[in-house]
């Protein structure tokens, strides 16, 4: 491994693209950009399926902070440290971890340039860059505004900031959230967040209210959420759909004011979840289309815009499959197996994929949505008759059972991805 790294550094310093030299070494090379649930799983699975592969994971952060369950951190049900994972397990699996960011990608020369100037050559490239925010989509909401009105949609410092603001708020205060238009990371996430903030308010600041301004007229697991809100937090959460003036048209971070087509709302705590697009490297690699997201074929998730580049997880257009950690992990395993087949000159199998997303409405109240997907007409499509949401009427402690399954799922998927 050291030899290969040295070689690549030398090749980079000399400005060599060097794909032919590396091929002469005999082992194919895959570079994975992005160390989240998609990228980390892909890197690890590639090495597991073919130990001879040279696999490099490019990820600038030494510690990954997971988004799933970060809403529980806001509600003080979890510590931030329980969301954080290192790459030691990935390294131990034989993956080279380059702790830096990718700055440029050349699909023709098949190279990735890193922030330190190193150039890596690849036979296959996997991009799993997650999301970036469409700053400027809401006038007034930029990176500086996010310090006053946190998005907390990439877990970490933003999560801690929002939690602190909630803790500092007076009892009787108004929390205003804004939920983005489709598509976005974690479709049920804003509604789980509203639930768990209401849960925390009900204990610590019971006179407070939460206003949820939405750019949509419908949302994931809607009946289950709304039934749960009525039962658990009557009168606390007010959801304002698009058609009733829910779309935020501008914000003023100085006064914590959110303006919609129907009026203005002054918040004590404002959580703006802005519109999103694929992580920035996707546009640089020219794998993002005009929507800002990355079209891929549904078998190996290879870009339909650039040969040899695979895109996973939130950044990709995956048809019916939602943008979730479960989905990214499932796609990564399918993609890794497909890449091993493609490198060996074989056709990858037609995959089937599962997604399951749990949401908590309280510490012991969980609901879920599931789906099973197959390639159909160039996209991943729902298998008819499968999937769906938890039953509307829960019997036999089902909500408590699903809350337990939710935390078990998190322990499992993080162990499989990072463990």
């Amino acid at each position: 491994m050291a030899t290969r790294r040295t070689f690549l550094k030398l090749a980079g310093a000399a400005g060599l693209a060097a794909p032919s030299l590396a091929s002469a070494q005999g082992a194919a090379r895959v570079v994975v950009v992005g160390g989240g649930f998609g990228g980390a799983t892909a890197a690890r699975t590639l090495k597991q399926l073919d130990p001879k592969l040279g696999v490099t994971l490019v990820e600038p952060n030494p510690i990954y902070t997971a988004c799933p369950f970060s809403n529980s951190v806001l509600a003080n049900l979890r510590e931030m440290s329980q969301q954080q994972f290192r790459y030691d397990g990935i390294k131990a699996a034989g993956v080279t971890v380059a702790e830096t960011s990718a700055t440029a990608i050349d699909a023709l020369a098949r190279t990735v340039t890193l922030a330190d100037g190193t150039q890596l050559s690849w036979d296959r490239l996997v991009l799993s860059p997650g999301i970036d925010f469409d700053w400027g989509a809401i006038p007034g909401y930029d990176e500086a505004a996010a310090q006053k009105m946190p998005h907390a949609w990439k877990a970490g410092a933003q999560t801690v900031l929002l939690r602190q603001q909630l803790q500092d708020m007076r009892d009787g205060g108004l929390v205003v959230m804004s939920s983005p238009p489709n598509p976005f990371r974690c479709p049920p996430g804003p509604y789980e967040r509203a639930s768990l903030i209401a849960y925390w308010l009900s204990i610590w600041k019971p006179k407070s209210k939460l206003l949820l301004l939405d750019s949509k007229d419908a949302f994931s697991k809607q009946r289950l959420f709304q039934d749960g809100w009525a039962q658990l937090y009557p009168g606390t959460i007010e959801w304002v759909p698009l058609s009733k003036g829910g779309k935020v048209t501008s914000v003023d971070p100085a006064t914590l004011t959110l303006t919609t087509e129907f009026g203005s709302h002054k918040a004590d705590v404002a959580n703006v979840i802005p519109p999103q697009k694929a992580g920035a490297i996707a546009a640089k690699a020219r794998v993002a289309d005009r929507t800002g997201w990355c079209p891929v074929e549904p078998v190996a998730f290879e870009s339909t815009l650039q040969r040899g580049i695979h895109v996973l997880g939130d950044a990709a257009i995956m048809g019916a499959m939602p943008k979730s950690a479960f989905a990214a992990n499932a796609q990564a395993k399918v993609c890794a197996a497909a890449i091993v087949e493609l490198l060996a000159g074989r056709a990858p199998q037609q995959p089937l994929l599962i997604n399951t997303c749990y949401s908590l409405l309280a510490a012991d109240y969980g609901i879920s949505i599931a789906g099973v997907y197959r390639p159909d007409k160039g996209l991943l499509a729902d298998i008819p008759g499968a999937g769906g949401v938890s039953p509307l009427s829960a019997v036999g402690g089902l909500r408590g059972q699903e809350a337990l399954y939710a935390s078990s799922w998190f322990r499992t998927i993080t162990a499989e991805t990072f463990g």
Partner: protein, 101 residues
């Protein structure tokens, strides 16, 4: 015997590590790799979700059929099992049966 075996071994080595039948995909049959998102391939402490690696194939098939028909109550497995037909379920079950427990 030895003379015949050595080239065969060399060929197996060159063609990509552990021998795999041409029809056995590297990460299991369609759908199998998604299962481990919840059913951990390794031991995970404090999980209430049962592991399925190393379980008898017939037991996995039976469970999936019962979930699919809603004969057995479940939270999420009924919804997932409905996405797999008998043949797909049997292939997945056979795969997990030979994975390390």
């Amino acid at each position: 015997m030895g003379r015949l075996l050595l080239p065969a071994l060399a060929l197996a080595f060159l063609s990509g590590g552990p021998a795999q039948a041409a029809d056995a995909p590297p990460n299991g049959p369609p759908g199998a790799s998604s299962c481990t998102g919840c059913h951990a391939p390794m031991k995970v402490t404090d999980s209430v979700i049962p592991r399925i690696a190393g379980r008898k194939s017939a037991d996995i098939v039976t469970a999936m059929r019962e979930y699919r028909s809603d004969a057995w109550p479940s939270s999420v497995m009924g919804r997932i099992a409905k996405g797999f037909d008998d043949q797909q379920t049997e292939a997945i079950a056979a795969w997990f049966a030979v994975q390390p427990e």
